[in-house]
Symmetry: none
Subunit: 473 residues, 2 copies
């Protein structure tokens, strides 16, 4: 029984794997900020070295138009299914650094949680996946399935170059389905598998007034204030019922069926407890939809940042020359990110206040919304494994966040993606004091070992059902 | 003719007075930044020594709750009017220091302009005033009027302690009117006297949502976004016609009479050239008023700074826990700063969007609007002197900016203030490369000598008309 040998190996090597994770977290592989370019390069090298050490073949750091992809494979399970394993080694910026209780790039254990930037998103879950594979290879010298690994460095910048990377390697990456180490579980108290995630597009609005900062007394009343113009522009992006007021924003959305809405309503979800967990006094959003529906089934337009003028202590009576805001939209099936960017840009430029000029800069990376059939066999096996480990039936859920890969692999390779991450959504990724639960690391390794075992028992063809051809855009 | 002796003395001592100004500028008497406390102390000592040298009596450096006031007097012109002469020896910080062409605290002559921090605001105009007094005392041993000098060290921090200082010395400071060496002239090409300036109050708005920054995918649609709430709050502070939409904001404003509006319309003012000078494409503001009227006669509410969420390079898909904006209002006669703060705060708190909380922090320093009657005899004499010097009629103008002293002296001492500074608004005070025109130094000394002569010919009672009792707040 190679699976039980692998499980024993993993238990024996738990501390060593945790140490690998600590060293991985120490590398500041921030993809969003060019000043961290060295960190990205170090992250890729660390990963490649690790995969070689585990026994993978064809380990390579491959360039893209942006940050590199790390690939490797092990293809000696003849006649068995092939899994494309996905993860990402890039992380979010650590800002605001002052809000961290321990240094963001120094993994620190407190209360059985490991704190550090990227430990939950996605370094911890990736090391769990790699750990499961290492457990097979380390204990038995082989795997129950064929594995192709693809770890990217641009997930936090919307997987900007992954689509082209995959398109250029359709044959090399061919597999029966994708198993993703990314895609945090919804809650720590409920085993779940995610069947859909939202798409994403983003842009920055700049509002310009006079050529220089002006004294608000000497000039106030004479010329337009870019901060006031920006506030007006931003306020007009939502209607008073909480819906997005950009013309055509909701056009073409695939309305969820009654079964979907009913299953969401049936989930054990305590809205009050959720609001308390994030410290919000009430749920707020588009009228006519429940909180979970708004987060999972409906698109949003959020302002992510705003700046202009004086923000230091005390006052400075200035009319700044410029103000800006960053905006992003989460999209649902039926919405195309480029179409939405066009519509938002059009709405913003059309509403330019008098005496000011408005410009829009689009973020290059976009992601399309994704959904997988509830009937996909790998999804069903993942549910079974979770029930075995947690002793209760796993639930199918959706995700408000964005993982572009599902749609990319469906479109380019014609295969489904199962998210099988063991981080959970409460772990403050994208925020200060990100953490990963140590017992989840253990659960994850155990689950991946078991899932690979089960996949190895099914015929290859089973995983292609419903995915006979690439999904069209 | 003691005035002509004084004029001759001033001409003979021009270089010596310029040298005094250079030494004064070399003292970094920055009031806004505690690291310059020594500079403030040196500035006060320098001034006190200078006044003693000129022949003033009762020279004293007097403590306040903040930086000290320098006082002195000469009261031997029996039966003649008494003038309280005002100026300030504190200066703005030199930042950004790199943008200076010569060191900010080393007065440097280029093209007949003296460059240095504070040279225009207010050290140059003060030395012109002191030079005129020194010219009388140095040449004739006496002055044609009684003089009380009051030079403060906190003008650049809203004269934070001056009101209390004056209130505590109502009898000692009693005079017939105030002649201010502060209050730059509107333009270098037009002799003007300023009859009004706007008041000022300021506050900061904080909008809070969840207890921590949230991932805009994981939580977007579920809870309110403080940036959106802030944009909505700020946008609601103005109506679409450019007027301030805070209820009651315009209540009680003393509407300008037709004569005032006509005289503003008659001023030689090239709106296109003004807009070009600030790099604005068009004038924008409250409907129904000309550009100068909006800047001089009408109150404003300006956003001076805004912050929240991610403002670095690239994007960060965050719903921040908090967002904030700094706001200030310029006020006109009939508006009380505390009443306006109440109204703005009330409007903001009342409009708090669902799911968010709003708090308001008021800036401590406020300044009331000020206006002096066009008929004030000292104003009329000032106009006469300017016409003699510049060979064309002087114009009455207003000021969009704020100088708190006029209202303080009117309220505490029941007397009018005439601004008689020879710096001009284009001299980049509050910015790098502040300068003062050397010929303006000459003009200023000449004008002050002549004005003191003329004031000495009028009966004391003339200056008290319309100011028989303190102005109420």
């Amino acid at each position: 029984m190679s699976a039980s040998e692998a499980q024993n190996w993993a238990i024996a090597h738990h501390d060593a794997l945790l140490d690998v994770l600590r060293r991985f977290v120490a590398i500041p592989s921030v993809s969003t900020d060019p000043s961290f370019t060295d960190g990205i390069a170090q992250g890729a090298v660390f990963l490649a070295d690790l995969l070689r050490e585990c026994g993978f073949e064809h380990v390579a750091i491959e360039p893209t138009g942006g940050h590199p992809v790390v690939r490797a494979d092990w293809l000696h399970a003849e006649g068995k299914p092939t899994i494309l394993v996905y993860g990402h080694y890039d992380v979010q910026p650590p800002d605001p650094v002052d809000a961290w209780q321990s240094p963001p790039f120094q993994a620190t254990l407190r209360d059985n949680k490991l704190y550090g930037r990227g430990v939950s998103d996605d370094k911890g879950p990736m090391i769990a996946a790699v750990g499961a594979l290492a457990a097979y290879l380390g204990s038995t010298g082989s795997l129950p399935v064929n594995i192709k690994l693809l770890f990217e460095g641009e997930e936090e910048v919307s997987s900007a170059h992954l689509d082209q990377f995959v398109a250029d390697r359709v044959d090399e990456l061919a597999a029966d389905f994708v198993l993703s180490a990314d895609g945090a579980m919804w809650r720590v108290d409920l085993p779940t598998v995610t069947t859909a995630c939202r798409g994403l597009c983003a842009l920055e609005i700049k509002v310009s007034g006079a050529a220089k900062d002006l004294h608000s007394g000497r000039h106030g009343g004479a010329v337009a204030n870019p901060l006031q113009g920006l506030a007006r522009l931003l306020a007009a992006l939502h209607a008073s019922d909480g819906s997005v007021a950009v013309p055509g924003f909701y056009d073409g959305i695939e309305e969820p069926d009654q079964e979907t809405r009913a299953s969401i309503a049936a989930l054990p979800f305590d809205e009050g407890a959720y609001l308390q967990s994030v410290g919000a006094c009430e749920g707020v959003g588009e009228a006519g939809w429940s909180l979970l529906e708004r987060n999972w089934l409906r698109p949003t337009l959020e302002i992510n940042g705003i700046s202009g003028g004086y923000a230091g202590p005390g006052k400075k009576t200035v009319i700044p020359a410029e103000a800006s805001a960053k905006i992003s939209c989460r999209l649902v099936p039926g919405q195309d990110p480029f179409d939405i960017l066009n519509k938002v840009e059009h709405a913003v430029l059309n509403a330019c206040p008098r005496g000011l000029s408005v410009s829009v800069e689009r973020e290059k990376g976009v992601a399309r919304p994704f959904a997988i059939s509830r009937q996909h066999p790998a999804l069903q096996l993942a549910m079974q494994v979770l029930e075995e480990i947690y002793g209760r039936p796993a639930q199918l859920v959706r995700m408000g966040a964005t993982i572009p890969i599902g749609e990319i692999f469906a479109h380019r390779l014609g295969i489904g993606t199962v998210f099988f991450s063991f981080s959970t959504a409460d772990e403050d990724y994208h925020a200060p004091n990100e953490f990963f639960r140590v017992e989840r690391m253990r659960d994850g390794i155990r689950a991946w070992i078991r899932l690979l075992e089960l996949v190895g028992t099914l015929p290859t063809a089973a995983f292609r059902e419903g995915f006979t051809s690439p999904i069209s855009r």
